[in-house]
C-alpha cells in the first residue's frame, strides 16, 4: 500500500519536475522582467497597429478556412498521403512554394502568356496560402484521428434511417462532435499561424511585418529599448494568442448553435447553396498534396542545378557538385538530430503516458492546458527565459542535456495532442481486468494497454521526434554551439544567397523527418491494427 503510494507519488513528482520546471522557469523569467514592460513605447512604435491586425487577420482567416476544409473533406479524404507533407520543414516548404507560385515562378513558366501575380513574395495572400497548405494536412490528420473516436458511420446510418440526408446528418450531428474534439488542434493552428516566424520572414509583407516577426527582431536586438519592446510585445503576443483560442471556441459555439437550430428546421436555400460552394474547398487537401510534392521536386531540382532564371523551364546546368562537397559535412548534424530526437521522443511519450494515467487516477481537468502551454507561448520568449534561468556553461554533455530538456515541452505537447484523445477513448476496464488477474498496474499497462494503443503510441513518438528534429532556437541558444543539428545547419545555410546549399540541407532535414514519421507510423499501422476495435 505504502509502496504503491510512493510509486504514484514518485511518478507525480517526476511528471511535475519534467513538465513543470520549464514552464515555471518561463513564468519566472517573464515575471522577473515585468518591470521591463513598456506599453507606451510599444503602442507608439511605427506600424504596430498594422502588425497586430495583420497577424490576427492571417491567424483567423487560416483557422476559419482550415476548419471549413476539414469539415467539408474529412469524410471523403484519407490521411494516408498526408504524413510526408506534414514532415516537410517549414522553411524548405516555403522556399519551394515561393519558387513555384511567385510571378516568375516555375509553374507560370510552364504556361507562357498567362501572368498571375496574385501570389508574389511578401503578400498577405501568399502568406495565408502557404500557412493553409501547411496547416490543412496537420488538421486533416488530427481530424482523422478524432473521427476514429466517434462512431460517425453509425450516426450517419441512424440519421439516414430517420429520413435525413447523409450530408445533413454529417453537418448537424457529426461536425459538432468532431469540432469539439478538434478544439485543441485548432487552437494550435490559430496560435501557430499568429506567431510563426520563419514562414512570415519570407512570405509575409515586411512594411510592416507581423507582430511575431517584430518581437523576434526585437529579441535579437540588444539595446535596452528593444529588450523592453520585446518583452512587452511578447506579452501582447501571448494575450492575443489567448484571444485566438477564444475565437476557436467561439467558432465552435457558433457552428454548434447553427446545427442545433437546423436539427428541427429546414436548411434554407441560401445555406444549401453555401454548403455546395463550400464543397469547392474540398479541392484544397488535394492541392496541398500536389503542392507538397511539387515543393519537394523544386528543392530537389534546386539542389542539383545552376543558372535557372526566369523564364527558363530547365536550368542551364545540372550538377552534383553541391552534394559532393557537402556530403561528409551533412551527416554529423543528421546523426545528432536523430539521437536527440530519439531520446526526446521516448522521454516525451513516457512522460505523456505517465501524465495520462495520473490524469485518470486523480481526475486532473486542466492537464491539457498545461501540457499545451508551450505551444501557446511565443517560443523565443520561453527559450530566452530558460537560458536566463539555466545560464549553463560547462562540460559538453551538459549542453546536450539542456538541449534535450529544451525540446521536451514542445515534443511533449505534440505527443499529448496525438495520444490524449485515443487514450481517453481507451476502455480502462481492460487494465482493471488485467489487475484482477494478478498483474500490477504497470504490468497490466505494458501487456494490455500498450499493445492495444500501439498505433497512437508510435504516432505520438513519431510526432515528438519530428518536433525535436525541427527545433532551431532552443538548440542554438541552449546548445551553446556544442550541439549542431541538421536544423541549425539548415538555418545557417538558409541565411545566405546560396539556394543550392540551403536546398541540400533542407532536403536532408526533410528526409530525416519523413523517415521518422513514415517509419514509425508504418510500424503503428502494422502493430496497432487492432487498436481501433473495442
Amino acid at each position: 500500500m505504502i509502496v504503491a503510494q510512493l510509486k504514484t507519488k514518485g511518478g507525480l513528482a517526476l511528471a511535475l519536475l519534467a513538465l513543470g520546471l520549464p514552464l515555471i522557469a518561463a513564468v519566472l523569467g517573464l515575471l522577473l522582467n515585468l518591470r521591463q514592460l513598456n506599453f507606451v513605447a510599444l503602442l507608439s512604435y511605427p506600424g504596430i497597429c498594422t502588425m497586430i491586425w495583420q497577424g490576427l487577420l492571417v491567424a483567423i482567416v487560416v483557422t476559419v478556412i482550415a476548419t471549413l476544409v476539414v469539415m467539408v473533406s474529412s469524410y471523403a479524404i484519407s490521411s494516408s498521403g498526408l504524413r510526408s507533407i506534414i514532415a516537410i520543414p517549414n522553411l524548405a516548404f516555403t522556399v519551394g512554394i515561393l519558387w513555384l507560385i511567385t510571378p516568375t515562378g516555375w509553374l507560370w513558366r510552364l504556361l507562357p502568356g498567362i501572368e498571375v501575380d496574385l501570389f508574389d513574395r511578401q503578400y498577405l495572400l501568399t502568406f495565408i496560402l502557404i500557412l493553409l497548405l501547411k496547416e490543412i494536412p496537420f488538421l486533416l490528420f488530427m481530424s482523422h484521428r478524432a473521427l476514429q473516436q466517434i462512431p460517425h458511420q453509425k450516426w450517419l446510418i441512424i440519421g439516414q434511417s430517420q429520413g435525413h440526408s447523409k450530408a445533413k446528418t454529417w453537418w448537424l450531428i457529426v461536425i459538432p462532435a468532431l469540432l469539439k474534439r478538434l478544439r485543441l488542434p485548432l487552437m494550435v493552428v490559430a496560435v501557430y499561424s499568429f506567431s510563426v516566424i520563419d514562414i512570415a520572414l519570407l512570405a509575409a509583407p515586411q512594411l510592416p511585418s507581423t507582430l511575431a516577426v517584430q518581437v523576434f527582431e526585437w529579441q535579437l536586438n540588444f539595446t535596452p529599448d528593444a529588450r523592453r519592446l520585446a518583452y512587452t510585445g511578447g506579452l501582447v503576443l501571448l494575450a492575443l494568442s489567448g484571444l485566438l483560442c477564444l475565437v476557436v471556441i467561439g467558432q465552435e459555439y457558433l457552428i454548434g448553435q447553427w446545427s442545433r437550430k437546423r436539427l428541427s428546421s429546414q436548411v434554407s436555400r441560401v445555406e444549401r447553396l453555401a454548403l455546395k460552394l463550400l464543397k469547392g474547398l474540398g479541392a484544397l487537401p488535394v492541392l496541398t498534396r500536389v503542392f507538397g510534392i511539387l515543393a519537394l521536386g523544386a528543392l530537389l531540382a534546386q539542389s542539383v542545378s545552376r543558372g535557372w532564371f526566369y523564364p527558363a523551364i530547365l536550368p542551364a546546368d545540372w550538377t552534383l557538385q553541391g552534394w559532393l562537397q557537402e556530403w561528409s559535412y551533412i551527416w554529423p548534424g543528421v546523426i545528432s538530430a536523430l539521437g536527440i530526437a530519439l531520446i526526446v521522443g521516448l522521454l516525451s511519450v513516457l512522460l505523456v503516458t505517465v501524465l495520462l494515467e495520473l490524469k485518470r487516477t486523480y481526475h486532473w481537468r486542466y492537464l491539457a492546458i498545461w501540457v499545451l502551454l508551450p505551444l501557446l507561448v511565443p517560443q523565443i520568449l520561453l527559450v530566452l527565459s530558460w537560458h536566463q534561468m539555466t545560464n549553463y556553461s560547462g562540460s559538453e554533455a551538459g549542453y546536450w542535456l539542456w538541449v534535450i530538456w529544451s525540446h521536451m515541452p514542445f515534443s511533449v505537447a505534440y505527443a499529448y495532442l496525438v495520444l490524449a484523445p485515443q487514450e481517453h477513448a481507451f476502455d480502462q476496464r481492460y487494465v482493471l481486468v488485467g489487475r484482477a488477474l494478478g498483474y500490477s498496474f504497470w504490468r497490466s499497462w505494458w501487456r494490455i494497454k500498450r499493445p492495444l494503443l500501439a498505433g497512437p503510441l508510435y504516432l505520438s513518438l513519431a510526432l515528438a521526434m519530428f518536433i525535436s528534429v525541427t527545433q532551431y532556437v532552443p538548440t542554438l541558444i541552449l546548445g551553446g554551439g556544442r550541439v549542431a543539428t541538421v536544423t541549425t545547419d539548415l538555418m545557417a545555410a538558409s541565411s545566405g544567397i546560396n539556394t543550392q546549399l540551403a536546398a541540400i540541407y533542407a532536403l536532408m532535414q526533410w528526409l530525416l523527418a519523413t523517415g521518422i514519421l513514415i517509419g514509425l507510423t508504418g510500424l503503428a499501422g502494422q502493430r496497432g491494427s487492432s487498436a481501433g476495435e473495442q
Binding site: 516568375t104 536586438n221 532564371f309 541558444i477 554551439g481 556544442r482 545547419d489 545566405g496 544567397i497 546560396n498
Partner: protein, 373 residues
C-alpha cells in the same frame, strides 16, 4: 626606400621560416588539444569551406580544434553572450562588427588589448581604416579579418555606371517599379540609405561624428526629401521592400528588378561562377566610392579558451590564411594585412568610410517612423 625594404625583407623571412617549418615552434603548439568555438555566420558555403580549411591547418599547426558554430544571424550569439554570466562563456571567438560589436564592448563582454596579444596584428594594413568600426573606436577589443564594400549589382545597359542619387531617381522615373532596396533595419538597406545620405550631403564631415539634433535634422532633410520622391517609383510603389539582400538578388536574377546590393567585393565573381546571377549583371557603386567597413574577430572576456582563440586570430591574420581567403575561386574576401610577394589583392572600389553609428540609429528610427505605418 630602405625603410620600406626592411619590413618587406623581414616579412619574406617570416614567410620562408613558416614555410620551412610547417608547425610553429614547440612553445606555441598547445600541449593538449583544445577546442575553440567560433561563432560565425554560416550562410555561405565559401566561408564555411574556408573555415574547414583553417580548422585543418590549425589542428596540424597548433593542436587547436576550431569548431565553426554556424549561425544564421550573429546577433543570436550576441544575445546569448549578453545573457551569460561572467564566469565562463560558451563562445570563444566571434565574427562581428558594427552594432553587435558596440553592444558587446559597451557591456564589457570582450577581451581587450588584442593588438598586443596577437602577434600578426602588427601586419595589419595601416591604410585600412579599421581603428573605428561604424565610427566607434575599436580600442583593441576586436581585430579586422576582412573587408566589406557596399556596392550595387546592376543589370547591364540599365542604370548608368556609378549612378549618383539623381541618376537613380531619373532611372526610376523612366522605369517605375524596377528599383528597390532591402527594408531597413536590415543592414544592406540602411547602408544603401547611408550611401545616399553621404552623396546627397557631398561627403559632409559631420557625418563621421555623433550628431547633435540640429545637425541631424539638417543633414537628414535632403535624404527624406529624396526618398519621398523616390519611393512611389520603386518596386510596389515603395509600399513594401525586399525583406533581405538575398530576396532582392533573387528578384534581380529573375528579372523583376534591375538592381540589388551586396557587401562582398567578390559577390559578382562568385555569383557568376555559381550561376546564381545571369551573366548580364555588373557591379558598380553609388557615386564614386563604396562604403567600406571591416569585419572583425573578437574574443569574449569569459572565454575558457582565450589563448587558443588568440592563436586562431593570429593564424587567420597570417599571410597564408589571408592569401587563401582572397582567392576568388573560394571566398574572395580582401586581405587586411599587407601582402608582400606573389599575387596582389583583388581590386577594390575607392573606399568611403562608414558614418558614425548614431547616424545609423537615426536613419533606422526615422525611416520606420516615416514609412512604416
Amino acid at each position: 626606400m630602405a625603410s620600406r625594404l626592411v619590413p618587406v625583407l623581414l616579412a619574406c623571412l617570416l614567410i620562408l621560416s613558416s614555410m620551412s617549418i610547417p608547425a610553429q615552434s614547440a612553445a606555441e603548439r598547445f600541449e593538449e588539444t583544445a577546442p575553440v568555438y567560433f561563432y560565425a555566420w554560416g550562410g555561405s558555403s565559401e566561408v564555411n569551406n574556408y573555415l574547414r580549411w583553417a580548422a585543418e591547418e590549425l589542428k596540424a599547426r597548433d593542436n587547436i580544434e576550431l569548431i565553426h558554430v554556424k549561425v544564421g544571424d550573429i546577433s543570436e550569439a550576441v544575445a546569448r553572450l549578453l545573457n551569460e554570466d561572467r564566469n565562463a562563456s560558451a563562445i570563444d571567438l566571434l565574427w562581428i562588427n558594427g552594432e553587435n560589436f558596440h553592444a558587446l564592448k559597451a557591456a564589457g563582454k570582450l577581451l581587450g588589448k588584442l593588438p598586443e596579444r596577437v602577434e600578426n596584428a602588427s601586419k595589419i594594413n595601416p591604410d585600412l581604416n579599421w581603428q573605428t568600426d561604424f565610427g566607434v573606436p575599436v580600442d583593441g577589443y576586436e581585430l579586422p579579418w576582412g573587408v566589406g564594400q557596399f556596392h550595387l549589382l546592376v543589370r547591364e545597359n540599365t542604370l548608368p555606371v556609378q549612378p549618383d542619387p539623381a541618376q537613380l531617381l531619373s532611372y526610376a522615373q523612366q522605369h517605375p517599379g524596377r528599383l528597390s532596396y532591402p527594408k531597413p533595419p536590415e543592414f544592406h538597406g540602411t547602408t544603401f540609405l547611408k550611401s545616399l545620405l553621404i552623396s546627397l550631403n557631398n561627403q559632409d564631415e559631420r557625418l563621421y561624428s555623433s550628431p547633435d539634433a540640429q545637425t541631424a535634422k539638417e543633414l537628414l532633410a535632403p535624404l527624406w526629401r529624396y526618398l519621398d520622391q523616390l519611393h512611389p517609383l520603386l518596386w510596389r510603389q515603395g509600399r513594401d521592400f525586399p525583406g533581405s539582400a538575398v530576396v532582392q538578388q533573387q528578384l534581380l536574377a529573375n528579372g523583376q528588378l534591375d538592381m540589388a546590393v551586396s557587401f562582398n567585393p567578390q559577390e559578382l565573381t562568385v555569383a557568376h561562377r555559381q550561376q546564381r546571377l545571369p551573366p548580364s549583371i555588373v557591379a558598380t557603386t553609388i557615386g564614386q566610392s563604396a562604403i567600406t567597413n571591416s569585419h572583425y574577430l573578437a574574443v569574449p572576456a569569459a572565454s575558457p579558451h582565450k589563448d587558443q582563440a588568440l592563436a586562431v586570430i593570429n593564424f587567420l591574420l597570417s599571410e597564408p590564411a589571408q592569401r587563401k581567403k582572397m582567392d576568388p575561386m573560394g571566398w574572395g574576401d580582401p586581405p587586411v594585412i599587407r601582402l608582400n610577394a606573389g599575387k596582389h589583392a583583388p581590386d577594390l572600389f575607392p573606399a568611403q568610410s562608414e558614418p558614425h553609428l548614431d547616424w545609423l540609429r537615426l536613419i533606422e528610427q526615422q525611416w520606420l517612423e516615416r514609412y512604416q505605418r
